[in-house]
Amino acid sequence: MRLPAHPFFTAAAIVSVMPARRFAGLRSALATVPFLFLGVAIATASGFWLGLALIALSAYLTLYLWTSFLSFYEDQSLMSLPATPEQLASPWFRTKWPRFVDFTTAGILAAVPDAEAPAAILEQIFRSRFGAFFFERTGIEPESWFASMRNTVREGMPTLPVADLIERAARVAVARAHRRILPADVLAAVIAEDPSFQKIILAHDLAPLDFEYLADWFTTLAEHRRERNFVDRLLASPGIGKAWGFGFTVALDRASSPVRAFREDELHILAHAKSIGEIEEALAKSASANAMLIGAPGIGKMTVVRGLAERIRRGQSLPALNYRRVVRIAMEDIVGEQSFGSVVGNLERIFREAEYAGNAILVIEDIELYLSPGRKTTVADALLPFLRSSAIKIVGLTTPEGFAQAAATYPVVGSVFHEIRIAEPDEETVMQILGDVALAAETKHRRTVQYQTLKKVYALALHYLAATPFPEKAVNLLEEVFIYAKETGSRIATPDMVEKVLARKFGAVIGRVEEGERKILVNLEQELQKRVIGQTEAIRAIADAVRRKRSGVAAGSKPIGSFLFLGPTGVGKTETAKALAYVYFGAEDSMIRLDMSEYQNPADLGRLIGSLDTREVGRLVEEVRAHPFSLLLLDEIEKAHPNVLNLFLRILDEGRMTDAFGKPVDFTNTFIIATSNAGSEFIREALGAAMPYADMQRRLVEEVLQKNIFRPEFVNRFDAVIVYTPLSREQAQRVARLFLERLRRRLMGEGYDLSWTDAVLAWLAEKGYSPVFGGRELRRLIQDQVEANIARDILAGKYKKGDTIPLAPPAETPPPPAPASAPVAAAPLLPSTSAPISPSTSVASPSTPESGSGQASSEQATPPSPLDISAH
């Protein structure tokens, strides 16, 4: 493409095919050679060596001039972009556009033959240094990428005059606050223009915004590679003698450490430029020049201080602050001293010394600990007088709640400190920081990281680590991913490792649906019905919600599923919850169970979400933070106070809440199930009247609303209101089988087996069926009549390990055990007077057909065991 005649474009065109960096090593190596030869020439008084020195000098100077020329315009454009997009629409811009492209883009454009074909520009972008970086960091095969692009071109890519394309790219650049047009801006313009290219990037699992982040990362990498030359280092050096006019600080030096910034902090610091500016202004004042940095732990308060310290050290801050000492006082060590008197004495000595020295800026982390009432009050009294001194500057670091508490205790805190609140960085900044951190981590762990990994780190940290702010949570997660890559021996930290690290942390499946999980999800109804008898509608609604969430169809900012279970007692509400926790999270104990009848007063709210007054951490908050992948079961929800129910409105709606200390709690990975017996009578009546399920569901909701048991906005927040119907006799028999199967599993754990007949099940269903108490009555019956007797017989030594304990109904009293069978302990028959079933004599070895399965029926060949009818 024909570009204006200017050294900028000439250098760009050369660099695009022959990077200047290639000559850097040779230039450095040649720098000393002329002087060496000159030295030899002088020592030997030889014209030959002088000649060599002159040749080496001419070679070095040629290389110096050449590389200086090629690298001079790097990361520059001839002009900065106008601040507003309106100026881009002028005819002037259309003629002057080459002046606004950056050096890399100029090289790309110079290499493109056809000015009308965006496809050619695109291809050249991906063949440039940026393209090489793109393929390296995304793991995309260049050949497959170019093949996709060629196919797109064949399908017909629109032509566009380059001035139009650059004008659009300039708009993107202005929107992104770039000062010149970068390759990523041109890419964004093409992507916006051409839907076929959008398909290519989507097919490679990328989004248009990714190119911006990749371009930022590319720039960061170039910045890290840039060697700081002698002049840069000289100008950034504080030099000597700047502190000679200020006092010595022996005690302060012992109790503090200087705050320094490192090269890897640079981007973090840039992310907090605004806060650093604010703190500089606050500290440069003549009186009460103290600053309080307020922000959640991990948000970057210390980074702000490091940025400030670095600017001060380099003399780039305000004149009143330049070349002062920024030191962090180890308050924890001072306060940890054994003698309290020495604590106060030490503190006073340190502060007095700092005051006298005149150039100290003291940084105190967690300052609220020393400004709060309690045993350290005297510490606060020692500290406060110095806050008014004009000769000392103090920077306090605290949390929002810590500051509120300190200001409430000591109102003076509000006037002597300038408040600076640190905001959580946005996605773009976090991605920039991650790119920066990744480069340092790559060197440290000797592993490389893909761009998709950084993206996944951001996305999953946002979603799963709600309690910690950015950037800390993302930086920590990335570090863990590198460690995981090291542990598994992988050279590359890949995106799936982020999911694995979190899965290991939370003990739950994270990320895409795997094949094994896919099967569970497809058959979820069957899985749940293995444990819950009947209640088909409830189970279907739950299974649908789970599938929606795991397939990514459901909104991400809500709990996985939220259900209000209404129905009489003992019909399987809690059992459904347990089954779901087991199937979805892999363990029944992945359930947080709250008895809401314990939260009937407004004051009980503190026990759920914490209390600032008592410093108590709420149970709900604590449990969900510790186990974010859980099922939250709210038993007897109708008994909770309305204020408590209001708390759940936001949780059900947004999937998150804020605790009493202002920290967020994430519920987007929890199921929330509230159970209530409200409307049980209505359900029975409706069933009696043979009302269809859907009608019953609708009428029941109307009923609970009419009776003011729940408010409409509360009921509407649930994904579904599920009505549980009372058990039928037939279902009671299936429930009995379920209970016996569980009992058998427990016994097998102890080394015994259990068998029963269909008659036993029928008998249990007959005696244990209760329309009022549902399965509970049946469980009670089994506990009282079966489990109790088995326990007694085992303790009495009737059964040995390996024996099968047979059950039979009263009418089927079996004969005594056959002597030929496996060793058994004979049990005496008890009079069949009152109560029903109990185990009696063990008759079969574990290998006998009827033992164990729970499938054994009265028709089976082996005779049933004697029935023990015990009177209790």
Binding site: P7, S58, L235
Partner: protein, 127 residues
């Protein structure tokens, strides 16, 4: 391309060289804190100074005064040494910078001349 190179050499390149040379001289001047030290030349060394206390005791007063004067003199000596060294280094840097600025426009001539002369000296008969 050669035309664009020379355009850079006598335009942006020359400007950059001049700025760089000035920056080195200023950097040296700043590194040795010449201005700060001159401004605080007679301040006590690290603020080591004794208070005169309450009341007036001639012996205490004069011994304190002597100590404080010594602190100031010591401070002045050290500062003066650094100021002198700083000025010398800065002047040297400024001289070399000026030389480099003066040499820069001549480099397109200096380089071939050095090459030809060098070849001549090692025995090539270039003429």
């Amino acid at each position: 391309m050669p035309l664009q190179f020379f355009r850079w050499h006598y335009g942006d390149g020359f400007r950059q060289t001049a700025i760089l040379s000035v920056n080195i001289a200023v950097g040296c001047f700043n590194y040795f804190s010449v201005l700060e030290l001159a401004r605080t030349l007679f301040l006590p060394w690290h603020r080591i100074i004794e208070g005169y206390g309450r009341g007036f005791d001639p012996s205490t007063f004069f011994s304190t005064l002597a100590g404080n004067i010594i602190s100031r003199i010591l401070g002045a000596i050290v500062r003066l040494v650094v100021i002198v060294v700083g000025l010398a280094v800065s002047a040297g840097a400024a001289f070399l910078g000026a030389l480099w600025i003066a040499l820069w426009p001549l480099l397109p001539l200096v380089i071939p001349t050095a090459l030809i002369w060098g070849l001549f000296l090692i025995g090539f008969n270039v003429f």
